[in-house]
């Protein structure tokens, strides 16, 4: 069943068209990886879906309903959660308060303090600490936990591994694997191509705001994705 569909989406930063005519669909339970170079429009695309960035034109449907006019906090209540780039935790609040805040605002469901701590043992022992005093990996785990606390139908994960030590990335992904195995619907932006291809069912590659390649993770080779990533061979009629 289609959970989220994006049609002809255009989003701008001032004069710059960051997302150009993007169309895709996301099924319930699917894990979609968005890959592409810096400035390809991945973050902007996620932010428009979450309602943090205004769209210039196009349509976003969630469970069949057009949500373009809904504010970000209403989309959270419908079941869309964004883990923003750079974590953006509330540093003056404790880990637990960050989680509770999301919990009090979101939907009811299986995710609560206990289940989040269970899924992210990394932060269970840090619950009373201010979020500003955490390591990068702990902050990322808290940010993902915070999104899960709203019991989302779809989680938009922006740059999970950016700026983290490899060990921390492994720890975060170990926890994330458990979440993904539970049948969550996820859109993942990830710089690490190998990791993106290994966790995702489907891959969309963006270049300069457009989708230049998409397919299931199984049918796409690493070489194809890399070529699309850098915009190589576009003139030779590569898949677009």
């Amino acid at each position: 069943m289609t959970l989220l569909s994006v049609e002809g989406l255009v989003a701008r930063h001032g004069l710059l068209e960051a997302v150009r005519d993007v169309t895709f669909e996301l099924d319930e339970g699917e894990t979609l990886a968005l890959v592409g170079a810096n400035g390809a429009g991945k973050t902007t695309l996620l932010r428009t879906i979450a309602g943090a960035h205004r769209i210039a034109s196009g349509r976003i449907r969630f469970q069949g309903r057009d949500i373009v006019d809904d504010s970000a906090h209403r989309r959270v209540r419908m079941g869309i959660a964004l883990v923003p780039e750079g974590r953006r935790l509330f540093t003056g609040l404790t880990v637990e308060e960050n989680l509770q805040l999301a919990g009090q605002c979101g939907r009811r469901g299986p995710w609560n303090l206990e289940s989040v701590y269970e899924a992210f043992p990394l932060i269970a022992s840090r619950r009373k600490r201010r979020a500003g005093n955490l390591s990068g990996g702990e902050q990322q785990a808290t940010a993902i936990g915070r999104a899960l606390m709203t019991n989302p139908r779809v989680v938009l994960l922006d740059e999970v591994s950016l700026g983290l030590a490899p060990v921390a990335v492994d720890a975060v992904y170990r926890s994330l694997d458990g979440v993904l195995a539970g049948g969550a619907t996820v859109v993942l932006v990830e710089q690490d191509l190998g990791r993106a291809l290994s966790v995702a069912d489907r891959v969309i590659c963006m270049l300069e705001g457009r989708i230049v390649l998409q397919g299931t993770a199984k049918e796409l080779t690493r070489e194809q994705v890399v070529a699309a990533y850098f915009g190589l061979g576009r003139e030779q009629g590569a898949p677009a």
């Binding site: 943090a52 970000a72 906090h73 959270v76 509330f90 003056g92 805040l101 009090q104 605002c105 606390m149």
Partner: protein, 300 residues
């Protein structure tokens, strides 16, 4: 001993200043609005109470049952109709907006009530002047003590509200990063409305206390705004208990100044405020240059 009396009275007066300042501090902390109409909103609360007390014949304390929710509603409406729009246009516009609001409130009150100086003192009977005698020279006024206790109570309730309740979490998160708060499901518009409502209601309460312990007229607001600013700056922005300390320092300075020379009351407060502000700036400058030793050329 007379000095001790002035200090005690100054501390109690500090409670009033803290009450006045806490709303200003809350609105700045959550919404980043420097509300130049804060003092006038306090005076509006005083006139509102006067109206209820006079027309309905209610005791001013009973009138608060109507006045406080009424002022909270005023705050909420101001947020929805003015602050929200002005905030979208950068930092300067809210400053101009609230400055304009201050002038409008003053002149509307003047048009309706004229320039007469009023007081709610007569309506609260003995409370206005009764006091406990500690010894031959130290007296504690009932009303001053009551204002101090209420101020500490209001700050305590605010503290618990901010630290321990869901709405407090939402307020703190929105204060820190409103965009991200929206992304975890916080309705920042309603949080701003609540913050504004609480801030204006507390301002109104402070105005009522001013009217009980002293007198007021339609143009009393700006001076109260300055006192509130001084208390906030002395105590440090964003700290409720710091605001109480700031209020007390201001109150003591004014009373001690008045004891030195009755004309120096307000002046002494301003001087202490400026001294603390200058001291802060100097400390910051010293730290930026690498600490005291480097600053004084003692570093090896």
């Amino acid at each position: 001993m007379i000095w001790a009396n002035q200090v005690v009275t100054g501390i109690l007066l500090g409670g009033y200043y803290a009450l006045l300042a806490s709303g200003l501090s809350l609105m700045f902390g959550v919404m980043r609005i420097i509300n130049l109409a804060h003092g006038d909103l306090a005076i509006l609360g005083a006139f509102f109470t006067f109206l209820v007390a006079n027309d309905l014949g209610w005791n001013p304390f009973l009138a608060l049952v109507i006045v406080l929710p009424g002022m909270a509603l005023v705050g909420w409406l101001l947020q929805r109709t003015m602050f929200e729009r002005s905030l979208r246009s950068g930092v300067l516009v809210p400053l101009l907006t609230t400055f304009g609001l201050a002038i409008v409130i003053e002149n509307l009150l003047f048009a309706k009530y004229g320039a007469d100086t009023r007081s709610l003192g007569p309506q609260i009977g003995n409370l206005a002047f009764d006091s406990w005698k500690i010894n031959s020279q130290i007296y504690i006024g009932h009303l001053s003590a009551l204002i101090f206790v209420v101020a500490v109570g209001v700050l305590g309730v605010l503290h618990i509200l901010l630290r321990r309740t869901p709405i407090g979490r939402a307020l703190r998160a929105t204060a820190e990063d409103a965009d991200t708060a929206e992304l975890v499901g916080v309705n920042s518009r309603s949080v701003y409305g609540i913050a504004s409502g609480i801030a204006v209601a507390i301002a109104g309460l402070a105005g009522v206390f001013l009217a009980m312990r002293s007198s007021y007229d339609p143009y009393s607001g700006p001076l109260q705004l300055i006192f509130a600013f001084e208390a906030v700056v002395i105590g440090g922005i964003g700290s409720l208990w710091g605001t109480l300390a700031g209020g007390i320092i201001l109150g003591v300075a004014q009373n001690v100044g008045a004891q030195l020379n009755p004309e120096w009351q307000i002046l002494a407060g301003h001087i202490v405020f400026l001294a603390i502000l200058a001291g802060r700036l100097m400390l910051t400058a010293i730290e930026e240059r690498g600490g005291l030793d480097v600053f004084l050329g003692r570093a090896s």
